[in-house]
Subunit: 142 residues, 2 copies
DNA sequence: ATGAGTGCAAATAGTTTGCAAGCTG
DNA sequence: CAGCTTGCAAACTATTTGCACTCAT
């Protein structure tokens, strides 16, 4: 069980404080679970980590949406069409090498957003977003 | 209606010939439709283009899968979780700026596969694949 | 108390699977 | 004529929506 990162925790808490979001008991538990993750995880896994087996998944999804809306969480797309979720420093974002089996993820310290966004704007695109993920089988899952 | 690209057509045909896939009437129509596309499109749109409104979507999906298996077609993931499809030169692949409204897509002449694959393999990952797409609203859809 | 958060049920979108029947090389 | 291809129906996964109820601030 990984340690939670104190500075991520405080950054995220600060952002939550200054947001209109309400910190309910369930959200607190979900947040705690997210803080202990060392990799992006699915809504189902996050609910388990939060020890909220009775809680409807819709609540987890809505919490993910809420956290994402204030920039403290990002979605990681999977090949299958599903998603994983992870906390981020407010406004930050990054990409991964993700094991398609166990979801082990290594962070990719490389993002072309600046470059891509510029190119996109040259083409007249607005509201630009992007995804980039690398999938494979990690050593343990081979 | 865009012209089909003759050299893409012949490259794709060659690959089909040397494959175990059967070229049925439906597949031929689907292939023709794909050749006229100037952007990736959805399974539903492709069925329409192929003038096969009666054909079950499952057939379109299976054809996409078959074409992808011989490296002449690639899937483009959407933010929504759905996919678009497009023909590619055998074994090739590329990324896009995709309008999330109308699916207009500009090709992105930039792929980090070499670099990313090397990094992934250094991490012990195998069977590496990756996605990279840029989404936005194109000038017409704003 | 007021509006945000939650649960339940149901719907949705996109895609996949199983199996019997039809066609192609 | 073997086996790939197709259709139909059904299942499926991940996620979303509507609405009434509950709770946090």
């Amino acid at each position: 069980m990984p340690e939670s990162n104190p500075s991520l925790q405080s950054a995220v808490n600060d952002r939550l404080q200054s947001s209109p979001l309400r910190l309910t008991r369930k959200r607190t538990k979900i947040l705690d679970a997210l803080l202990t993750l060392d990799r992006p995880e699915s809504a189902v896994e996050i609910r388990e980590r939060a020890e909220l087996p009775e809680t409807d998944l819709v609540t987890v999804y809505r919490t993910m949406e809420a956290f994402e809306s204030i920039g403290i969480l990002q979605k990681v797309p999977l090949e299958s069409g599903g998603h994983l979720f992870e906390l981020i420093y407010p406004g930050d974002h990054h990409h991964h090498f993700v094991c398609r089996e166990c979801h082990k993820a290594e962070r990719l310290e490389l993002c072309l957003f600046g470059e891509l966004e510029k190119k996109a704007k040259n083409l007249g695109f607005v509201k630009v977003a992007h995804i980039m993920e690398i999938y494979g089988l990690c050593p343990e899952c081979q």
